[in-house]
């Protein structure tokens, strides 16, 4: 079975631009969560979606938005990029809606903002 997949693997953008990151969960998983991991730190929660509805939001500005599609895949959008948005963006999926369940992570998208 395929694991969680994310695209692209790497991305370079300049300040002020917009970026869209994509995630496909494990087949049968209905929950997708997004995390930002800055170098040297642990992942920070951005969003959780379950059954196409937002179920949780972390302390991130409104420049960050996400959505989940009927096939449970998800997109994370970041507008007006700042240098501080440079990070590894991780997507995780699980079967149910609770974060207390085991989360299955994708390989991440490494974003560099110049």
């Amino acid at each position: 079975d395929a694991g969680v997949t994310q695209s692209p693997t790497h991305l370079i953008k300049t300040r002020g631009q917009h970026v869209t990151l994509r995630c496909s969960p494990i087949s049968g998983h209905k929950s997708v969560s997004w995390y930002q991991q800055v170098l040297g730190q642990g992942p920070q929660f951005i969003f959780q979606y379950y059954e196409k509805e937002e179920r949780g939001r972390g302390n991130f500005p409104d420049r960050f938005s996400a959505r989940q599609f009927p096939n449970y895949s998800s997109e994370l959008n970041v507008n007006a990029l700042l240098l501080g948005d440079s990070a590894l963006y991780l997507c995780a999926s699980s079967w149910g809606q609770w974060a207390q369940e085991t989360q299955y992570f994708g390989p991440g998208t490494r974003l560099l903002v110049l």
Partner: protein, 112 residues
């Protein structure tokens, strides 16, 4: 903000030795999870321990949980070079069912 803190921040041992990492967290929890991350890649789930459990084993891994002290430890026995990675504890703080909160991580280096 980080819910937990791992201790030590970095650990270097030789192959065959045991590695112990500790995690402290701030709020009451339902369970605590440990994850491994190799070289800035995706995280891999290692083990989950529920709040009513005190100890759990999985292969060479042993996890303990002390809810009164709000702390957990991860022991890797007979370490191998392939265990070189960063290890994170993660919890869901009370009142936030959807938010998995990670600690700061322990970087483990296992040398031959």
């Amino acid at each position: 903000s980080q819910q937990g803190e791992e201790d030590p921040q970095a650990l270097s041992i030789q192959e065959g030795e045991n590695a112990t990492m500790n995690c402290s967290y701030k709020t009451s929890i339902n369970n605590l999870q440990w994850y491994r991350q190799n070289s800035g890649r995706g995280l891999v789930h290692l083990i989950l321990i529920r709040s009513n459990e005190r100890e759990k084993h999985s292969g060479r891994l042993r996890v303990t949980l002390d809810t009164s002290k709000k702390s957990s430890s991860l022991l890797i026995t007979a370490s191998r070079a392939a265990d070189t990675a960063s290890y994170f504890c993660a919890t869901v703080p009370s009142g936030t069912a959807s938010k998995l909160t990670f600690g700061t991580g322990t970087r483990l280096q296992v040398t031959l």
